[in-house]
C-alpha cells in the first residue's frame, strides 16, 4: 500500500506495533471520558445526595470513576510500549497477531466488568460476588474472573515485549522497561490474595496501589519520557539512559519502603511509623534533584522540538508530578500530621493532583505523538492551524484540576480540624465535619473545577482528531537539524 500524503489521517503511516498502540489509545480515551463523566456524577452527589439515588449510587459512580482511571492509564502505558517497541528494538513486534487478539479480549472484558458494576449494584457479599461481581479493594475492584483474564492478557503483552527485544536490539531503555514491567505485573498478584482479615487485606492491597504509583509506574513513565525526549527533543541516548538509571535508583530507594506511610493506622506493627516516616520523608528528594537535570538539558539544546503539544504536556507532567506527588504528598505523610488528615478530602486533593499531574499528562503527551505520526509525521511546531485548541485544552484541563485540588484541600483542612481535632474522630464528628459550610463550599468549588475540566476534555478530543489536518509541512526533526549544525 502506498503511504498516504502528509496531513491525511491514515494508519499506513504507522508500523505494526503503532497500529495496535492507536487501538489502545482509543480505548484509553473513551475510558478517560467515562472517568470524568462519572467523577462529575459522584461530585454532584456530595452536593445533592438524592441525585440518582437508587439508580446510580455514589459508591458505584466512585468505583467506575477510579477503576476507569486505572484501566485507561494502564492501557495508555501498554499502548505507549507498543508504540516505541519497534523503533527501540529495531525489528517488528514478535507475535503481534496474538497481541491484537488479546487487545479485543481485554477490551471486551473491561466492558463486561463495567456493565456489571452499573447494573448489579446490590446483593449479598459471598464467593459468587467475589468471583463475578466485585472483589472489593478500591481501584482494582474487578471480580476474580477478570483478574485472571487480566493476568493472561498481560502475560501475552509481556511476551510481545520480551520476544521482540530478544530478536532485535537490547538497549538500556528496553532493559529497564522489561524489569519494571515484571515488577509492575507481579505486584498485581498481591492484590488477588484472598483473606478475611481486613488488616492483612489492606496490607497487600497497598502493595499494588502504592508500589504501582510511587515506584513501578513512576519508572515506566521514566522509560516513556526517555524515549519521548529522544524523539521529540533530540536528546542523546546516553544522556536519557543515564538519567533513567539514576531515577530508577532514587525512586526505588525511597519509594519502595515509603509504603510504610499507609501502615500507620490499619493494625500493622508500630515499626511502620518509623519506616514510613523515614522513607517517605525522603521521597520528594528525587523529584527535587531532577530539577537540576531539567535545567542542565534545557540549557543544552534550547527546547527546539518537533511537537509543541507533546512538549507542553511533558512540561505539565514535570510540574504535576512535582506538586502532586512531591509537595502534596509530603505535606500529609508524617504520622504526626497524617493522624488528622488520613482519609479526608485532603487525601483526595493529593490523589487527584498526583494522578492527573503524573500520569494523565504523560499519556496525553503520547496521544499527541500518535496524532502527529497518524498524519504522516506532520509539522506540529509554530504556526499550525487551530493551535488555540491544544493550548486551551492544556490550560483548561490543568486550571480545572488545580481548582479542584485547592477546593478539596480546603474541605480536607476543615475535616481535619472539626472532625478529627475538635470532635476527636467520633461518629458525630464525622457528620459535623461534612455539614460545615467550609466543607460544602469546597465541594461546590470542586464542581466548578470539574466543569472546566470537562470543557477542556471536549476541546482535547476535538483537537486530537483534527490537529495537523490540511497541514503539508513535514515535522521538524531535531536529529537531522543537529546533524546539519554539526556539519556546518
Amino acid at each position: 500500500m502506498a503511504a498516504a500524503a502528509i496531513g491525511v489521517l491514515d494508519t499506513s503511516h504507522l508500523n505494526g506495533g503503532q497500529k495496535l498502540a492507536v487501538k489502545y489509545y482509543t480505548v484509553a480515551i473513551v475510558l478517560f471520558v467515562a472517568q470524568v463523566l462519572f467523577g462529575i456524577l459522584a461530585g454532584l452527589q456530595f452536593l445533592y445526595p438524592d441525585f440518582l439515588y437508587g439508580v446510580l449510587d455514589f459508591n458505584v459512580n466512585r468505583m467506575v470513576h477510579i477503576n476507569a482511571m486505572v484501566v485507561w492509564m494502564l492501557m495508555g502505558f501498554i499502548g505507549s510500549v507498543y508504540w516505541l517497541l519497534e523503533d527501540e528494538a529495531g525489528t517488528p513486534v514478535v507475535g503481534l497477531k496474538l497481541g491484537e487478539i488479546i487487545f479485543y479480549v481485554l477490551t471486551g472484558a473491561v466492558a463486561v466488568v463495567v456493565l456489571v458494576y452499573l447494573f448489579v449494584q446490590v446483593g449479598p457479599g459471598n464467593d459468587m460476588t467475589r468471583w463475578f461481581i466485585n472483589e472489593g479493594r478500591e481501584y482494582i475492584e474487578a471480580p476474580r474472573w477478570a483478574d485472571i483474564g487480566i493476568v493472561v492478557a498481560v502475560l501475552t503483552f509481556f511476551f510481545n515485549v520480551v520476544a521482540t527485544v530478544m530478536k532485535g536490539r537490547a538497549t538500556g531503555i528496553t532493559g529497564v522497561l522489561i524489569a519494571d514491567l515484571l515488577a509492575l505485573f507481579g505486584l498485581y498478584l498481591a492484590g488477588m490474595f484472598y483473606t478475611t482479615n481486613v488488616s492483612i487485606d489492606q496490607y497487600w492491597w497497598w502493595w499494588v496501589i502504592h508500589l504501582w504509583v510511587e515506584a513501578t509506574w513512576e519508572v515506566l513513565v521514566g522509560v516513556i519520557m526517555a524515549w519521548a525526549l529522544m524523539t521529540v527533543l533530540g536528546t542523546r541516548r546516553v544522556v536519557v539512559q543515564t538519567w533513567l538509571y539514576i531515577e530508577v535508583a532514587l525512586m526505588f530507594g525511597s519509594g519502595i519502603l515509603g509504603l510504610g506511610h499507609h501502615y500507620f493506622w490499619i493494625g500493622t506493627p508500630d515499626y511502620w511509623f518509623w519506616i514510613g516516616g523515614f522513607f517517605s520523608a525522603l521521597e520528594p528528594i528525587p523529584l527535587v534533584a531532577m530539577v537540576v537535570h531539567a535545567v542542565y538539558d534545557s540549557g543544552a539544546h534550547k527546547m527546539r522540538n518537533s511537537n509543541h503539544p507533546t512538549l507542553g504536556w511533558v512540561i505539565a507532567h514535570a510540574f504535576g508530578n512535582f506538586f502532586g506527588a512531591g509537595v502534596w504528598g509530603f505535606m500529609h505523610t508524617l504520622p504526626q500530621v497524617n493522624l488528622y488528615t488520613h482519609g479526608t478530602q485532603w487525601t483526595t486533593s493529593h490523589g487527584h493532583l498526583a494522578f492527573f499531574g503524573a500520569y494523565a499528562t504523560i499519556n496525553i503527551a503520547m496521544f499527541y505523538v500518535a496524532a502527529q505520526k497518524l498524519r504522516g509525521n506532520v509539522w506540529m511546531g509554530a504556526g499550525i492551524a487551530g493551535a488555540w485548541r491544544w493550548k486551551w485544552a492544556l490550560f483548561l484541563l490543568n486550571a480545572g484540576m488545580l481548582t479542584m485540588t485547592v477546593a478539596l484541600l480546603a474541605s480536607g483542612y476543615e475535616q481535619s480540624f472539626i472532625e478529627r481535632a475538635i470532635e476527636g474522630a467520633t461518629w458525630s464528628g464525622y457528620f459535623a465535619g461534612q455539614s460545615h459550610p467550609w466543607f460544602v463550599q469546597g465541594m461546590q468549588w470542586r464542581m466548578w473545577g470539574g466543569w472546566v475540566m470537562l470543557l477542556g476534555l471536549a476541546l482535547l478530543l476535538w483537537d486530537l482528531f483534527t490537529i495537523g489536518a490540511g497541514e503539508t509541512r513535514k515535522a521538524y526533526s531535531p536529529s537531522e537539524d543537529e546533524a546539519a549544525r554539526t556539519a556546518a
Partner: protein, 102 residues
C-alpha cells in the same frame, strides 16, 4: 502511642512548613543549577538563601511534630539530602555529557 501528633494550634503551620520544605528545596536546586550552567555565581547566595528557608521549615516542623530520637535523625537526613542531591546530580550531568559545552 509511638508518635506524638502535632498540637491543633500548630497544625496549619506544620503542613505549611511541610510544603515549604519541598518548595524551597526545588527553588534551591533550580537556582543552583542556573547559576552553574549560566556561569552566574551571583545567583548562588540566593540558592543558599532558599536552602536556609528549607532549614527553617525543617526545624519548625521537627519541633511542631515533637521530633525526638530517631525522628531527629530523619530531620538531619532530610537536611543533608536536600543539600547534597543537587550537587550529586550536577556531577552526574557533567560526567555524562562529555562533548557538550553548555
Amino acid at each position: 502511642m509511638i508518635v506524638e501528633p502535632v498540637e491543633v494550634q500548630d497544625f496549619l503551620l506544620a503542613v505549611i512548613a511541610g510544603a515549604l520544605i519541598v518548595l524551597a528545596g526545588a527553588v534551591y536546586a533550580l537556582l543552583f543549577a542556573i547559576s552553574r550552567i549560566q556561569g552566574r555565581p551571583g545567583l548562588m547566595p540566593f540558592a543558599y538563601a532558599a536552602y536556609a528557608t528549607l532549614v527553617g521549615a525543617v526545624v519548625f516542623l521537627a519541633r511542631a511534630a515533637h521530633f525526638s530520637g530517631f525522628w531527629t535523625f530523619i530531620a538531619v537526613l532530610m537536611l543533608l539530602g536536600y543539600l547534597l542531591a543537587p550537587h550529586g546530580v550536577w556531577r552526574l550531568c557533567v560526567g555524562t555529557h562529555p562533548e557538550e559545552v553548555p
